[in-house]
């Protein structure tokens, strides 16, 4: 097999080599498992390994390719799956004590589709308890560490997925995102993270209680924009098992890669994303805007009149939806939640039904305001998070120090780390986080690119154009 450096290796680089039989899927899987063996004690990205199944799948892939039955760019590619997504016969904890021993008897649709594409599933990744938070400080399974600085959080809730991709412990991963749980750790770990349009990827097989029904999305982590398009090609599409899955037509998402972006108009939302952005993130974002403009794109300020209501609409939606799933365990095993989550769930029981319904009406109003904005711009860009990764100590004390002031990590709406990502959960718009720079401490900074519903093609086109113009995505964590 060719001598490959797994750190930073992309699917797009290795897939042609697998197709030409210059790289063995079996050797590739073994190399990744070795690397995980070395790095996981330090990073805690994986909760469970599927070593035997992975090696069997890799052998099968190798045999098929040798026989001329190459399935496509994901054939033989090592993947990981967040631990709140069902994998048949593999323990799936959702980062919780309650499900510590639960073994699903079925695969999630997204896992089925990845297996059908020939991917090799290496294991299940660590996460915030029940996906209900974004610092991933997990009292039951330990905190996954940011590979760029292990004193820092990797974000979350799909923390292990982001860590694994950033650290070269797999080539792609699937996570879930109810408030930013794919884009947030992607931003803090310097990977690509896509939350597609609501219903674009089936959420069948997501563990109940790990995402509000109307705001939850399955999403993709990769090292490059092209890789992400390849993964969406094999995972998007209607699923009769998922009532909220969309039958909107899918497309070849690699088609717009490399297409010129000259003349496209970027919307910049006023009075939301600039409220707490620290200077290092602001500078990186401004520089990214200059890069996009240098490609011939134009910017225009846009207004979403009710954008300030998004944190309320998000909380009013997710809390009752979560409680619907947790009622049984709240009655039978309340002390098997961490205290913070237990208090949060009990407080959620006190959300009146009219608040929930009213929030859904406000959400439609906000969606209409975004639809109106998209009449004058093709996409929206914004920082993914207001600051680079906080330290674990910052999270434990509840604030970060930046620009000479203290910024709380919690506000009335809950989690301040997700404030910039929740607008696109409330509206279901497709949104990708890409790396747009590094802090003075060497921590990644993310920019999110948002398009109208089901226009992931625009997201890929612009993200790819940006990626081609910069080298941020080529850096690897100092491991």
């Amino acid at each position: 097999m060719k001598d490959l450096d797994l750190a930073g290796l992309t699917i797009s680089e290795v897939a042609p080599l697998i197709k030409k039989k210059q790289v063995s899927p079996l050797e590739l899987a073994k190399n990744y498992l070795d690397r995980i063996g070395k790095l996981n004690p330090k990073l805690n990205a994986y909760l469970a390994m599927c070593e035997d199944e992975a090696l069997a799948a890799a052998k099968k892939a190798e045999r098929e390719i040798r026989q001329g039955n190459y399935r496509g760019p994901l054939h033989g590619i090592p993947f990981s799956i967040k631990d709140n997504i069902c994998t048949k016969g593999v323990v799936t904890t959702a980062g919780s004590k309650i499900l510590a021993d639960w073994v699903p008897n079925h695969d999630a649709t997204v896992v089925e589709r990845l297996r059908a594409a020939g991917t090799i599933i290496l294991g299940k990744t660590n996460m915030h308890e029940w996906a209900k938070g974004s610092n991933s400080i997990n009292p039951f399974y330990g905190t996954p560490y940011n590979p760029w600085d292990t004193s820092c959080i990797p974000g979350g809730s799909s923390s292990g997925s982001a860590v694994a991709v950033a650290a070269g412990m797999c080539m792609g991963s699937i996570g879930t995102d109810s408030a930013g749980s794919v884009r947030n750790p992607a931003s803090l770990c310097g990977t690509v993270g896509l939350k597609p349009t609501f219903g674009r990827i089936s959420s069948y097989g997501g563990v109940a209680g790990t995402g509000g029904y109307t705001v939850n999305h399955f999403g993709i982590f990769t090292r490059s924009v092209r890789d992400c398009a390849l993964v969406l090609n094999d995972t998007a599409g209607y699923d009769p098992k998922d009532p909220i899955s969309s039958d909107a037509p899918i497309m070849n998402y690699t088609k717009t890669l490399g297409a010129p972006v000259k003349g496209m108009k970027i919307g910049l939302i006023k009075n939301y994303f600039d409220q707490a952005t620290v200077s290092e993130v602001r500078q990186a974002f401004d520089e990214a805007l200059r890069t996009l403009k240098s490609l011939g794109m134009k910017t225009q300020e846009i207004e979403i009149p009710h954008i300030d209501l998004i944190p309320a609409a998000q909380a009013a939606s997710t809390r009752p939806e979560a409680n619907s799933d947790h009622d049984h365990y709240l009655r039978t095993r309340p002390r098997d939640y961490s205290p913070g989550l237990l208090y949060n769930l009990i407080a959620g029981l006190l959300t009146p039904a009219p608040v929930y319904v009213h929030a859904q009406r406000v959400r439609r109003l906000i969606c209409q305001e975004f639809d109106e904005a998209f009449k004058s711009v093709q996409l929206i860009v914004a920082p993914t998070i207001f600051a680079p990764a906080p330290s674990i100590d910052d999270c434990n004390r509840g604030y970060i120090e930046a620009d000479g002031k203290n910024i709380n990590l919690q506000d009335r709406a809950g989690n301040f780390l997700t404030r910039y990502t929740i607008p696109f959960n409330v509206t279901g718009l497709p949104d990708m986080s890409v790396c747009c720079g590094y802090s003075s401490k060497g921590l990644p900074i993310g920019m999110q690119i948002v398009a109208p519903p089901f226009r992931e093609d625009i997201v890929f086109q612009v993200a790819d154009a940006y990626e081609r113009s910069t080298a941020w995505h080529k850096r690897n964590p100092p491991l």
């Binding site: 609501f198 208090y343 859904q360 406000v362």
Partner: protein, 67 residues
């Protein structure tokens, strides 16, 4: 709000301490304050959001298609 938390405590059998009841009640009060502005919005003609694909924006290719 503390009374409401105590009722839940009895109904669900959480066995919350007084300190924990205070914490939960405070969170619920904060949430009530957060939600209040939602009711200041006029949503008279607006039905709740149910499914995103009811408002698909046509792609350029679809726009150009003849029926």
């Amino acid at each position: 709000m503390k009374d409401a938390v105590r009722r839940l405590n009895d109904e669900y059998g959480f066995k919350l301490t007084d300190k924990e009841i205070d914490i939960v009640a405070q969170q619920a009060e904060e949430a009530a304050l957060l939600f209040r502005p939602l009711f200041e919005v006029d949503v008279d003609d607006i039905t709740p959001l149910t499914k995103v694909d009811k408002r698909v924006i046509a792609t350029p290719a679809q726009k150009g298609k003849k029926k």
